[in-house]
């Protein structure tokens, strides 16, 4: 209907392509899965919710704070934005089904950047069988991404933060400290070790571990987005229990250890307090069969809600406050 952009459609920018041209170009990137009952192009999408419940989580990502266009490609930013939301769904023990994505962009943003972002979103979603079903595109000064993820509990109870019980085992699946190490590398102007830089650009949440934990009877679970100790604190507070973690049980991966040595940094700081790796922290009843991929790092005990690290209370800033 005659919507026109600020430039010619051939100038290679999203402004030139126009709102509706951009939406048309992006939508073709997203496969239609069996969960998509009505995809993009109407006032709202319709997504399957097989067990009559839907799990939903939303994240807002702002350029310069959550990503940098000079540090990450559009494809990487798309993957990361999807990953951090999919991880929230998985941390409930649910199966991710769909994403809705709002993009705020300046008119001079290259169209290829927006399409690369869409490809990254689609690729990451594809890892769990999800897809993008809807969105919004608006003009803004900085690039802003709003991602909402939906999921299906497959008939199970959600695994909440509040179910940890004294006597439970504390276990973690996935990487810790990799993203923080990669950020330290980038912050010092380096581009290698590549494996750490890549880990910062695109996290690798242990998607399959969430469902496995739920099936194994996990009593609580959380996506480790803000740092292991801070997110352990969220479980402790919600469960009114103590999470006693042994630092010696927490794996420090070789690349993280090597980078810390090179920078004269403490690798445990990255592992215990670094965010954005999107590991899964869970508690299991005593005697539970801990699923593959989980490493036991402590136990739940009685006492004033909080986290003990090697027997000492964790105090002060244990992780990330988004206003700090």
């Amino acid at each position: 209907m005659g919507a026109s952009g600020t430039g010619s459609s051939g100038d290679g920018t999203v402004g030139g392509l126009g709102e509706f041209g951009l939406i048309d170009a992006v939508v073709s990137r997203f496969p239609v899965t069996p969960d998509v009952l009505l995809g993009p192009g109407d006032d709202a999408a319709v997504v399957a919710a097989p067990d009559s419940r839907v799990v939903a989580s939303t994240d807002l990502l702002v350029e310069g704070r959550h990503f940098r266009r000079d540090w990450s490609s559009a494809h990487e930013i798309g993957r990361k934005a999807a990953a951090q939301n999919l991880a929230d769904i998985v941390a409930m023990g649910a199966r991710p089904t769909a994403l809705l994505v709002g993009l705020g962009a300046p008119p001079d943003l290259p169209s290829d950047w927006a399409l690369g972002l869409a490809d990254g979103l689609a690729e990451e979603c594809g890892q769990v069988g999800a897809t993008v079903v809807g969105g919004d595109v608006v003009r803004s000064d900085d690039v802003v991404l709003a991602v909402t993820a939906l999921g299906d509990l497959e008939g199970r109870d959600p695994v909440r933060r509040s179910g940890a019980q004294p006597g439970d085992v504390v276990a973690v699946a996935g990487r810790l400290g990799w993203s923080a190490a990669g950020l330290a590398v980038l912050g010092r102007g380096f581009r290698s070790p590549r494996v750490l830089v890549d880990a910062h650009r695109v996290p690798a949440p242990p998607y399959a571990a969430g469902r496995a934990a739920a099936l194994a009877g996990a009593t609580s679970m959380i996506d480790v987005s803000d740092g292991l100790l801070q997110d352990a604190g969220h479980i402790a507070t919600a469960s009114d229990a103590v999470l006693a973690i042994e630092s010696s049980a927490v794996e420090v991966a070789d690349p993280v250890r090597d980078a810390a040595a090179a920078f004269n940094a403490d690798p445990l700081e990255w592992v215990l307090r670094g965010g954005e790796d999107h590991a899964l922290l869970a508690t299991f009843p005593p005697g539970a069969d801990i699923p593959d991929g989980f490493v036991v790092i402590g136990e739940v005990t009685e006492g004033d809600a909080g986290v003990l690290l090697d027997g000492r209370p964790v105090t002060g800033k244990a992780g990330h406050d988004h206003f700090a």
Copy 2:
């Protein structure tokens, strides 16, 4: 867990309150409805989806483009942000159940502003029995709002944009031109007529009309967010049909007519091309019992997909391109 902000918690800003303090303060604003199976405070919320499907839509609102803090109160901005998303759900013929809200804010944003926003979101949701079930708070330079709405089809088929058939009646429910008139008033530095300024600040979508249209057998429906003619064009394109609208049948409300006269403007321009009133435009089969609140403004005819106004094709910019 020791999260701390940039200032003391008593300095009256969201930075002083801190991310978690702000979330705690905001969450208490949102009632728990029967659709909320698990509310805010975990990695994700769980919302009822009684007929095993969920309707979902998302919008991104950026300060200075979608709202101005000097023109609207936080409460009004919250109501408007909720309203435009609830209208998308209603336009599918669905019942809104829940909102997820991402807030990007500078640390010096007054806490009272954030709480007023939450109250506005809650109040508008309350009009349809919905509530806020989750969200995210991050730091950003400008205030950014990302709103996702979920809804329940109550066993009905979604009313899409694509079902209009030649012979159908075209009808509209709700206000048209009020928001554009209010914007013109504000843009000229005035604060009255109050009824128009209020209409720009807080739209009044005809929420009940969406379900009524679905029950009456509406063949297509759209939330009029970009302007009547442009959104009619979306139905025309999706349905591959012609929407023939008679301007004489489109109501021009007295306050809109009076303001246009005072500003020497054409009130029909506001009514036909103004956005943000969130009226509902729908088509009904011939002989259908048109629900209360809908006014017949034309008919669907055969031909190349498009909109006719008084028999003449609508060309050029018929409404809003968010990059223009």
